[in-house]
């Protein structure tokens, strides 16, 4: 709306005609967003309400006639479920392993690619590529790479110390899962860091350098502080995503006739979302499984809230340039 028409509007008397126009304008918005409104109602709001309802029952996914209301029994059960506690512990181990290392890798690569570099487009593509590789293909990549008989990893280690025969997916499944996750997530985070770096005016760095700051000092005292909002964004996204990891550990389950669809991953990779998935789709405990998922949802919301609270201490929200 230009200033002229805005002024005209204020000058006009608030007649019935104008009010009708307001109603029409409101109708326009709701008409335009109606696909999402309908989708939200049918595919989000109603399912979420249903999920909440289910979590208080013994629903098995099939028989409505046997449904009983259990109150908070499912939630009480979740808190004493040894499998759920084990799975939560393994999930936290993975989050702690994957998120910080992942952030450091993404940030270092972005910092290196942000310099004037030959073939920078090629490097960017190489690091970005795993991010667009589908999870099934990625699982094959890592299953093959770590395979004891035809895999390259043991062969590489064998150069240094011959006669190694590590069964990675059996003995160290979490290491493979962590590598797979970091490898696959790097591209997405790196691009966001690169965009953030390009948003930092070059004058800041140049001024510091003229004042005699070294390259490391510029990175430490100029670039990184200005980048904290982006680091924070990637940290939150990374933690939320890592808490929900489900398909990767299932596909990496050891087995020779394929990725392990429907099979239970080894105990070390038995993550929380995997536990919920198996509870629901294998054991048909839709009610109990829904309670497990709502608890995960609460953890995600709670953690995000805490992260935002702590962000005030270390995220630099900057002064207007």
């Amino acid at each position: 709306m230009t200033a002229a028409t805005g002024a005209l509007r204020h000058a006009a008397p608030r007649s019935a005609l104008w009010r009708r126009r307001g109603v029409r304008k409101a109708a326009t918005l709701y008409l335009l967003i109606s696909p999402w409104l309908l989708g939200f109602a049918l595919l989000s709001a109603i399912p979420l309400a249903l999920a909440l309802l289910m979590s208080f029952t013994n629903y098995d996914g099939l028989n409505l006639e046997y449904v009983r209301f259990l109150g908070f029994d499912n939630y009480a059960r979740a808190l004493t479920d040894a499998d759920a506690q084990h799975a939560l512990g393994r999930t936290l181990v993975l989050v702690v392993a994957v998120v910080p290392i992942g952030l450091v890798v993404q940030l270092s690569l972005a910092l290196m690619l942000n310099q004037p570099i030959r073939l920078s487009a090629l490097f960017r593509t190489i690091f970005y590529l795993p991010y667009v590789i589908p999870v099934v293909a990625g699982a094959w990549v890592w299953k093959l790479f770590t395979d004891p008989s035809g895999g390259l990893l043991n062969a590489l280690i064998g150069i240094a110390s011959p006669d190694v025969n590590i069964r990675w997916l059996v003995d160290y499944p979490t290491v493979v899962l962590a590598l797979f996750t970091i490898w696959g997530a790097t591209g997405g985070g790196m691009v966001v860091f690169l965009a953030g770096l390009q948003g930092i005016p070059a004058e800041y760095r140049e001024a510091a350098m003229i004042d005699g700051a070294s390259r490391v000092q510029v990175t430490r005292f100029i670039t990184l502080p200005l980048l904290t909002p982006v680091i924070f964004f990637n940290l939150v996204i990374g933690i939320i995503a890592a808490l929900q990891i489900l398909v990767q550990p299932m596909l990496l389950a050891p087995g020779i006739v394929g990725l392990g669809p429907g099979t239970v991953p080894p105990s070390d990779n038995y993550l929380y979302a995997v536990h919920a998935y198996i509870t629901i789709f294998v054991h048909q405990l839709f009610g109990y499984g829904s309670a497990l998922l709502w608890l995960l949802f609460l953890v995600v919301v709670g953690l995000t809230f805490i992260l935002f609270k702590t962000s005030r201490r270390w995220v630099f929200y900057g002064v207007e340039p």
Binding site: G39, P134, L144, F297, V300
Partner: protein, 282 residues
């Protein structure tokens, strides 16, 4: 960066700059390289001990086998159909909704937009389980309808991007079109859509990739007859005795991924432009 204060790069500086990058690039590509190499080996070379690094004769026949043994074309077609339908629907619908949020005012708009952003926080599985129950109740499992519905409903993430993107359009465009008597839909289709080619393409590519790569939903919603290539590729190829053929499997994986990589490389400039304009993270 001013040239005056930087001396000519020494050999050490060059090594420092490129060394870590080369190491990282090698680490990132080695696993992929190994898939490509394995896909060209004889099965006996794969099983050999000590390990055979490079195949003596490139076994292109593995690719032929990968296509023939798995009914590859049918699953690929399923994947293209499903991903394409979803991508087109979700981009159009999200763009329309994004345009609404960006350009039209009404009571409750900002609250609704906050609700939209809040849905981004809901874990996928929390939403999917009750959706699955509903799809099963209404007989939509084993059909492509869930993807059509998801597409029509739009993606909160894409809606958010399009809203940001359209908000940067000059409002004079709307005013001029309005003076010419164009309604909001007409303005959207005649002014906004034609001016957002790269953003539409980038979003469509990411949405296509998402369905092409998704393993979970087709596994749970579809059956062996109509499922996607992603689900098919989770099974290894086996010989008639049931022994796994890792070499043919890797050929299948390459065939599954290659179109995406090629498309991505081809469209990269396009996508990068889209990312810059919409701020897509992907």
């Amino acid at each position: 960066m001013s040239l005056a204060i930087r001396p000519r790069a020494s050999a050490r500086a060059i090594a420092l700059r490129y060394g870590p990058l080369l190491v990282a690039a090698t680490a990132f590509t080695l696993p992929l390289f190994w898939v490509a190499v394995t896909s060209l080996k004889r099965q006996s070379e794969y099983n050999a001990s000590p390990i055979v690094i490079l195949p003596s004769v490139l076994q292109w026949v593995n690719y032929e086998q990968a296509v023939l043994l798995a009914d590859f074309a049918r699953f690929a077609l399923n994947s293209i159909l499903l991903s394409g339908t979803y991508a087109v629907l979700v981009v159009l619908s999200s763009a329309l909704v994004g345009y609404g949020f960006a350009r039209h005012r009404a009571p409750g708009r900002d609250r609704l937009f906050a609700v939209l952003l809040a849905t981004l926080m809901v874990p996928n599985l929390v939403l999917f389980v009750p959706q699955f129950v509903l799809f099963a109740r209404f007989g939509l499992t084993n059909t492509y309808w869930p993807w059509v519905l998801w597409g029509l409903g739009g993606s909160p993430f894409a809606i958010f991007l399009f809203r940001q993107f359209f908000a940067s359009f000059p409002r004079e465009l709307d005013d001029a079109a309005e003076v010419d008597g164009a309604g909001p839909l007409r303005i959207f289709f005649r002014v906004y859509l034609p001016n957002s080619g790269p953003a539409l393409a980038a979003t469509a590519i990411f949405m296509f990739l998402w369905v092409w790569g998704d393993y979970l939903y087709p596994t749970l919603l579809l059956s062996v007859n109509n499922t996607t290539l992603a689900v098919r590729m989770a099974n290894a190829y086996v010989d008639p005795r049931g022994n796994p053929l890792q070499t043919v499997t890797m050929a299948g994986v390459v065939l599954y991924v290659l179109p995406l990589v090629a498309f991505f490389a081809f469209a990269q400039r396009f996508i990068v432009r889209g990312i810059v304009t919409t701020g897509i993270k992907g």
